[in-house]
Subunit: 401 residues, 2 copies
């Protein structure tokens, strides 16, 4: 196997060539930005992954239809506060109306326009506010749009990397929102990645689908899968690199960079889970299959009891091993090792003496790492979550009203 050293580096937030966006306040939320757009000056290759919830929201359904046709998209209209989900025929017509309005403003075919909404389920979009807001959107290079999609998020999730492909500078910029109702299968609520790389839409879709499984689909905040989830990636080709072709070193470089971007956004979402004080990472090694590794990792970061113990800075490994046993993963039940922040707690499924004060001290940090070795194969899996806190309950006991 060819070893590829990734040459992509993290850089300060900026948009790839030819991408413009804006985020403003139009009155959907009380004072915060709640409306935005994102577009490329030329049509971009496009890929998406979408919620598996049977009640898929109208904007998600519409964007999925547009991208699936020919893997091309040029612009997206975005809003927070109102999810346009479970809104019936009226909701669908409103999504189509938004599409038409943005197509007219950009003077492009409506089939190149997607829409994305996040917020409360069951309410209709206030179309008068959106109609009035549309002329106020300008083509900026700011990061305002990354604020316009937030709901209970404490801050935007962004990442930007740059590297050279075929002698051309390529930028990949991602942003996401998602704080509650996060148990993606697929994707968290909303994620967007833009790049000026040249790549065919079908290849971009293949890469995105594969990598979302290892990143966005491996985070959980509360085990609930939203109706609006989607991750959309746009590649407008303005970097003028030779078209990325599967099997080449450049393609692999790009794949690794995209993985970095998706993984960083996924971890930022988990760290900013509703009420969270800590990011929890679980690395499972020596699993029988990658699916087993991912299943075990996700079960651990998804367990309410584990999450509450980590909030309490309590190395309660019994809850971890019980969670492992409750999965369908193929196990050797006498061979499981568990460590927390690098300190062994369990070896061969039995307690080992450990310095509880030392472990507790490390659990005060903002990142907790749980390592599980199943000693039952050569595959691995990763997942990310957060602790379960008083504030999670507080936020979710009073979101609606």
């Amino acid at each position: 196997m060819q070893v590829v050293t990734t040459q992509f580096q993290k850089v300060v937030f900026q948009w790839p060539q030819g991408f413009y966006s804006d985020g403003i306040h139009i009155g959907l939320r009380q004072t915060k930005k709640d409306f935005g757009w994102l577009f490329s000056k030329v049509p971009a290759a496009a890929a998406g992954t979408y919620t598996t919830n049977q009640f898929q929201a109208a904007p998600t359904k519409l964007t999925q239809q547009m991208i699936s046709q020919d893997h091309q998209l040029q612009g997206l209209l975005l809003n927070s506060a109102v999810a346009n989900s479970c809104t019936g025929e009226q909701g669908w017509q409103n999504a189509l109306q938004e599409q038409t309005w943005l197509a007219n403003k950009l003077n492009v075919d409506p089939e190149l326009i997607g829409v994305a909404s996040t917020g409360l389920i069951g309410a209709q979009l206030p179309m008068d506010l959106i109609k009035n807001g549309l002329p106020q959107l300008t083509p900026t290079k700011s990061d305002a749009v990354t604020y316009a999609v937030l709901t209970t998020d404490k801050k935007p999730k962004t990442i930007c990397v740059q590297g050279e492909l075929g002698g051309k500078l390529v930028t990949i910029t991602g942003f996401a929102k998602g704080s509650g109702m996060i148990h993606p299968k697929m994707a968290t609520m909303l994620g967007f990645v833009t790049t000026d790389a040249q790549i065919a839409g079908a290849d971009l879709q293949h890469l995105l689908s594969e990598q979302v499984d290892q990143t966005f689909n491996q985070i959980t905040v509360d085990g609930d899968t939203s109706t609006n989830d989607m991750v959309v990636t746009l590649a407008n080709g303005l970097a003028e690199n030779p078209v990325l072709t599967p099997g080449t070193a450049d393609y692999q470089q790009f794949a690794q960079a995209l993985h970095t971007v998706l993984s960083a956004l996924a971890q930022q979402i988990a760290a900013d889970g509703e009420g969270a004080t800590k990011l929890v990472e679980c690395n499972v090694t020596q699993a029988a299959t990658a699916a087993d590794g991912q299943q075990v990792a996700k079960a651990i970061v998804g367990s309410n009891l584990v999450k509450a113990a980590i909030f309490g800075e309590d190395p309660n490994w019994g809850r971890i091993i019980s969670t492992i046993g409750a999965t369908k993963a193929d196990l050797d039940i006498d061979q499981v090792d568990i460590a927390m922040n690098g300190m062994p707690l369990v070896t061969a499924s039995l307690a080992v003496p450990f310095d509880e004060a030392a472990v507790k001290a490390t659990l005060g940090q903002s990142r907790v790492v749980i390592d599980v070795n199943l000693h039952h194969g050569v595959a691995s899996g990763q997942a990310w979550g957060c602790d379960l806190t008083y504030n999670y309950v507080k936020i979710n006991a009073s979101y609606h009203t």
Copy 2:
């Protein structure tokens, strides 16, 4: 189909003929009862259902082996505080030692003795305390044993019903513990049902397995499946009713009474979920299959977002419909009705105007009922859970230390 009017009535707590028990404090917990026994003066027909967690605890494994041999059991030794789970060969030997000690005390074959433990995972049983405690157990008719199995439970869960079968008075008495790590598949942590009815062990097992699926397996507090779960039923035949035979009216009467007992215990466990302030009941009707109905009902009472909303007394139906959509149940996505405490919130998957203040007022009660009509078949399903509160987080952030 023959309609059977159940003649079993709820009565004040008492043991069936020939059953004795005790519960005492031996120092496993700080001051509360932590050790007990339960036995029949003659061998009883026995049935059990056990955790599906791959790390099945030693006592659960031992009791399962004893009952599976010939569906007979005479006595059980019980303790709280220490689960004897993930304790390796030493833990298994300790469970066997307990079995031998109780067999000697009762002067019966060890194969007629089961053991049950609940509490912290990973610690060995303090065998000296148990050895010293054993002689202190006396054959009482009190309810002390129902206290000896509690951990974070606020109170014991008990029910007693009586009725006539074949001209003989039959008593069925059940008790259970379970407050956290409750997402039975199968059973909650520990449940015990005793009766003086005469019934073959195999028939008792069939009845128990079938009914646990509709009762204990349909409750959830936190989505975690314990390593120690079991429900054990003992029938000693001392009521001298004609042996209950499948297909007869008496058998069906007994089955209904057993269902009443299991369902009552399951609901008491859910209502006493860690930190809970409310019991949440979900009734799903017109599902395509019973499995779909049960799946949807359990998903709703298991959703952290729904649970937090109910704690906040917030009729946030968006979270309910999103949870329904996240299941694999066969749905007509335009036909779902949702009501809370009898008041319609959603009809044909769309919001209906409702008096929010009136719904909120009913959500202040200690029992919240969510009715879901899928309009997609003739099957139904039920599940029970509780709200997610600050106290759940508090209890579980500090249980270990």
